[in-house]
Assembly symmetry: C2
Homo-oligomer: 348 residues x 2
Amino acid sequence: MMQKVQQPKLIDVDAMARWVRDNGVENIITGMADAIETDFKRWERFDKVARVASHTPIGVIELMPTSDGEEYAFKYVNGHPSNPARGFQTVTAYGMLADVDNGYPTFFAEMTLLTALRTAAVSVMVARHLARPDSKVAAFLGAGSQSEFQALGMRGTLGIEDVRVFDTDPEASEKFRRNLEPLGFKVTVCDTGEEAVQGADIITTCTADKANNTILTNDMVKEGVHINAIGGDCPGKTELEGSILDRGPVFVEFPPQTRVEGEIQQKPEDFPVVELWKVFNGQEPGRESAEQITIFDSVGFAISDFSALRYLRDSTKGSDLLKEIQVIADPDDPKDLFSMVNSPLLVS
Amino acid sequence: MMQKVQQPKLIDVDAMARWVRDNGVENIITGMADAIETDFKRWERFDKVARVASHTPIGVIELMPTSDGEEYAFKYVNGHPSNPARGFQTVTAYGMLADVDNGYPTFFAEMTLLTALRTAAVSVMVARHLARPDSKVAAFLGAGSQSEFQALGMRGTLGIEDVRVFDTDPEASEKFRRNLEPLGFKVTVCDTGEEAVQGADIITTCTADKANNTILTNDMVKEGVHINAIGGDCPGKTELEGSILDRGPVFVEFPPQTRVEGEIQQKPEDFPVVELWKVFNGQEPGRESAEQITIFDSVGFAISDFSALRYLRDSTKGSDLLKEIQVIADPDDPKDLFSMVNSPLLVS
């Protein structure tokens, strides 16, 4: 009984960059937000585990698996805050899909770019439920790799073009301006976080230090603001002053993971949170008034990567962006693996 | 500050098969056994977690990570006992190494063949401490993908050429004979497990059913035998009659994983086991008499894959077996990931 196996396909870095340029960052983020929300709505179908982390003093390497019973996905991702100073990315990632039925890998992709897109897509998915629909100004505390993707996502969903930014590294803020102004944004580079959040309807915190910092203090947060706290995915790394978390409902992806990694690690284990999938399904309220402060304590969850990988796979199907990556050994007789190394003549 | 990143290298299936044919299965297994034992001896340096498994009724997909603080490795591996009947491998795998210092992947490899080699290498590493040095006859219960690798490993270490085999599938036994006789083995194909273990000094159980079976019963095990129980890596899957485990010391890789997946899942949680790394370091005895029955309750642990990947990487360094797999996004300014998708002219 022979059947030639399909080797998995690969979207490498060049292919990913081409795919994004061909389709547009805003379009992709919006489409991906829809795909992720669709998967969040069928939350209970997924096999969910907190990510598996290997920590060292200078960084972390994580594996993030999940499955809906038909497809399996995981992402490899590192987080090394000191990397940029040495010419490396803080976060690099790749991921794959597999067929649960036979366990064979089907699709690989670089996920450094894809993670930036999916993180923005998650922020968008959440902001369209929680930010005030009349939001006009977005503040960014942190102007690193994620920041432009976040800004484009917010524009794609809420039409926001007025963005304010603060970063301890002025060159990062200038890069943010240089990238976004030509795309039609009004960018205000600020000297302090306090200045950046002036008049902001949405505040995005996206820094990478591996420490408990206070990027955003309680007095900086005004009524009606939506906080999009995307930085800080480690035990011992937070960005918000703890008292902010008492001022409005805190929305999370997967509570067991967020309690360890998110802003709420500052709070007791029974600190109340709202699970986003329940909001999307109408089981829990989102924003309830224009004055309410809403807080998204984002840490990034495997289901979003699952959705992003499938979105990419479906979007690139049959295209010349795909390479083949030959990692599945496929002897003619499946019990005769040895034949592949026994004689050159027998190798399939 | 710019530095061009090294994209990870890949050993794909064809390259792996060529490497094995060029170097020889027995040589590789013996060399790999040394490499694994060296790493087991520095056991306490490793970050150890039980594998992360996603179970479905028809199979399992697992991630097996570990790190020694300098290099990180993980393996993706599935186990689907019904696969061969559908023309697929029971087990497929691939793996990678990463640099802990910056979190970047450095090396990828197919690991279906590599796992067969490393599983044989682990059996060899253990058998040379636990089997009687005068062992002459090896019995194999199960003639699937692993069996020839196991036989060649035993010959490479203990000089065993007299092998006896039983499989419920007679074609698998014939394949075992067909592969090994031309290599100088005396192969006896048997009609029952009882017949196969007659006169055997080493009994290897290597079946793939996902169930609690009794491939080896207590009355089949004579004094002085070394049992190499390599099949059965799932909760709810065992091969040995439980009372066998009371007849001699049970040696294991990583107790928290073996208690869930190994033969000792039949026993209470405090069932005594001997950790192999302590035997290799002289902290615990191995075989203590010619009459003793020794039992290796093998489930496969991440450190062995770590060692196997490094052995392969070191052995193929600089060779034309390596391909490049471009999965690390590498913008000129590490904080300017967006530049890679913003304009074709800016892509590095």
